[in-house]
């Protein structure tokens, strides 16, 4: 008994230490109590770029570790059959070109955003949609996110491709995170959790350095549901109040060994060394773009007076 317990804790410790050293996945260890510093904070710190020396003594520019969360689409799809370093590099160059034209702000699942898109069928040729980001994915130029809102008692979800040139403006009205990485359960939740006014104003954050985690627990409507939420280990949902047989079946079907499967997580993520290389490559250009935008904003606010 004791031996088994010791082995279990040893294995858990091994897995945890592996992730501490090579903390690469957005899902597992990063949804912890540690808040994430934003790009503003990163820019205002005394040492914005970490210059680590290598063996020859030359300084090597390394991007701040927050880049992994602010710009997750710069990391390529980890599937080895479809990876090619040259194509990924060219794609990143194109992404930076697009970012020089439009500001794609930092956002997370759970943030409330407004997207303005060129639409030929709209009266004033632009369509603006406000919604909560329930999911984001894709890598490179294919990166996308889904915004959800309830309009006239009808739930509406729109998938936007982040680098599509039809998008005129992406604003983040409320920057926050939720307890889950995917908020698809809002489809089965009461409508008030997905309703946001279309004329919502951008909210100013008091504490600029930390992205707050909204610990809201959402109430779901009575069954039937679109998915078996009891099997998905959701943190942001209130007690489901299901009969015990659902939880028993969920336990039978569950795969608790997956969190110890190091190779599975290795195959699903990009190694830390490669992440550092990628972000070091794009780091200087992204910082330049941020500075230019800040100057433009300051000049704009000065011009008001």
């Amino acid at each position: 008994m004791l031996r088994r317990a010791v082995l279990q804790t040893f294995r858990q410790g091994l897995a945890q230490s592996f992730f501490k050293r090579y903390a690469v996945s957005l899902t597992e260890t990063t949804v912890t109590h540690q808040p994430i510093e934003t790009s503003d904070e990163a820019g205002e710190r005394t040492v914005p770029t970490q210059k680590t020396g290598d063996e020859s003594g030359n300084t090597v520019v390394v991007a701040p570790p927050e880049f992994r969360f602010i710009y997750p689409e710069f990391l390529p799809d980890p599937a080895m059959e479809r990876r090619n370093r040259l194509r990924e590099k060219l794609e990143r160059m194109d992404m930076l070109q697009r970012r020089s034209v439009i500001e794609i702000p930092e956002f997370y699942t759970g943030s409330i955003m407004a997207v303005t898109v060129a639409d030929a069928n709209s009266p004033n040729k632009f369509a603006r949609f406000v919604g909560i980001c329930i999911q984001r994915g894709g890598s490179g130029l294919r990166a996308w996110f889904i915004l959800r809102n309830v309009v006239d008692k009808q739930g509406v979800e729109i998938l936007y491709e982040m680098y599509c040139p039809l998008i005129q403006k992406i604003e983040v009205l409320r920057l926050e995170r939720r307890l889950d990485e995917s908020l698809l359960y809002l489809r089965d939740a009461l409508p008030e959790y997905s309703t946001f006014p279309m004329d919502m104003e951008p909210e100013r954050r008091l504490n600029n350095s930390v992205v707050p985690i909204n610990p809201l627990k959402v109430k779901l409507r009575p069954r039937p549901w679109l998915e078996r939420w009891e099997r998905q280990n959701l943190q942001g949902v209130e007690d489901l109040n299901l009969p015990q047989r659902f939880y028993d079946r969920a336990e039978k079907v569950a795969k608790p060994w997956e969190k110890y499967d190091l190779m599975l997580h290795y195959r699903k993520t990009i190694p830390a060394e490669e992440q550092e290389k990628i972000f070091a490559e794009v780091h200087s250009q992204l910082q330049q773009q941020e500075l230019k935008r800040k100057l433009r904003r300051r000049r704009g606010s000065d011009n008001e007076y």
């Binding site: 479809r82 090619n84 739930g155």
Partner: protein, 373 residues
């Protein structure tokens, strides 16, 4: 971008539309399959689609002896010999090679190029429509040899190809230079005349005599023109041994309603009456993929001269990181009307660098302002 519907609300009408569309498609397919030409299947079933043995003229390429017991001194000597033999040569300019100034005419067949399919990138047109483009990396192509038409017509393949027509020349092009230690002596001797490092890939391109190129000529992405149509030749994705549903598109059987062990099977393979046997060419499970195919008429939408990259609208046979060959298109209505770089592209002599990234006029350039409709 799409709009998805709420779970409770108007899902029924959406489903109804989906079912109607599906029924329409299956009805039209059934009508097509009523006309079943057994004769054609019989002749086509005799066509050999793939071989695993190499052809008779094949030269053993890779050095099979991996555990040679050579001393470290001798190894170093071997490497010195290789260094001396393939000393760095300066980049070949157009003026160095003795190329005859030939005129381009619409009947000219230019050389093709060996490239690697490095993946797919999404780009957008000027009206906001998304376009899937395949990224092709033109490797370090060099012409190895030119075989004039009279000589080529005497070879086995040339005789077959030009049995009843005017013979054309053959350009042997190689790509991907690599370490000579990896190859056999016979294979390296193919490149001795030219003095090039042995190439991993070789290809033959049929050209008219006026498009002939001397050995050592480099072929780059500039060989092609923006907006032209190309044919890409490659080996399709190898799916391995596949069942009848994936391989031939059979419907299989019902998933439920009491079906016993008949979900993805072929069903009947003959009538029992007429001919009383299985016709050759009967569609059955078997090996799928790994076949040589052309994707024709693909438009070039972007060329990157710095990295030798061609972006082609559409998809190309084969998986990512596979080698393909790119030719000027054979489709009659999409051939050249104006002269392309003939016989191939050379950077300008006066040192002016060409434009690094050339885009087609229909595409939206990423650095330009957002599209407003």
């Amino acid at each position: 971008m799409f709009q998805s519907l709420e779970s409770g609300e108007t899902k029924l009408s959406y489903l109804a539309v989906k079912i109607c569309l599906a029924v329409d498609i299956t009805l039209s397919l059934k009508a097509f399959r009523l006309f079943f030409n057994h004769e054609q299947i019989r002749t086509m079933s005799r066509v050999k689609r793939r071989t695993t043995h190499p052809p008779y003229w094949h030269v053993l390429k890779n050095n099979q002896r991996t555990d040679e017991k050579i001393s470290s001194d001798n190894l170093r000597f071997v490497q010195e010999v290789i260094q001396d033999k393939y000393k760095n040569k300066s980049p070949i300019k157009g003026s160095d090679l003795d190329i005859e100034k030939t005129e381009w005419d619409p009947k000219t067949k230019r050389s093709g190029v060996i490239a690697r399919n490095i993946g797919v990138q999404h780009m957008w047109e000027k009206d906001g429509k998304k376009v899937i483009c395949t990224v092709l990396h033109v490797l370090d192509n060099h012409v190895i040899r030119y075989v004039p038409p009279e000589e080529y017509a005497k070879s086995v393949i040339g005789a077959k190809m030009f049995k009843n027509r005017k013979p054309l020349g053959c350009l042997v092009v190689g790509a991907e230079a690599s370490n000579p230690e990896r190859f056999t002596r016979q294979y390296c001797s193919l490149f001795d005349e030219v003095g090039l490092l042995p190439k991993k890939r070789l290809a033959r391109f049929i050209v008219t005599p006026n498009a002939a190129l001397p050995p050592c000529t480099p072929l780059t992405a500039g060989h092609f023109v923006i907006g032209q149509a190309v044919d890409v030749y490659g080996k399709t994705i190898d799916y391995g041994f596949q069942g009848v549903v994936k391989r031939w598109g059979f419907k299989g059987g019902p998933a439920s309603h009491g079906t016993t062990k008949f979900h993805r099977r072929g069903g009947t393979i003959g009538t029992g009456r007429d001919k009383a046997r299985v016709w050759p060419g009967q569609k059955m499970p078997g090996h799928m993929g790994s076949e040589r195919r052309f994707n024709r008429g693909l438009k070039i939408v972007r060329i990157n001269m710095k990295y030798n990259i061609i972006y082609v609208k559409g998809t190309v046979p084969g998986p990512t990181n596979s080698i393909v060959q790119i030719f000027d298109t054979a489709l009659p209505r999409r051939k050249f009307t104006e002269a392309p770089p003939h016989p191939t592209y050379f950077p300008p002599e006066d040192g002016t660098l060409p434009q690094e990234d050339i885009w087609d006029s229909s595409l939206h350039v990423f650095g330009s302002p957002s599209i407003s409709v």
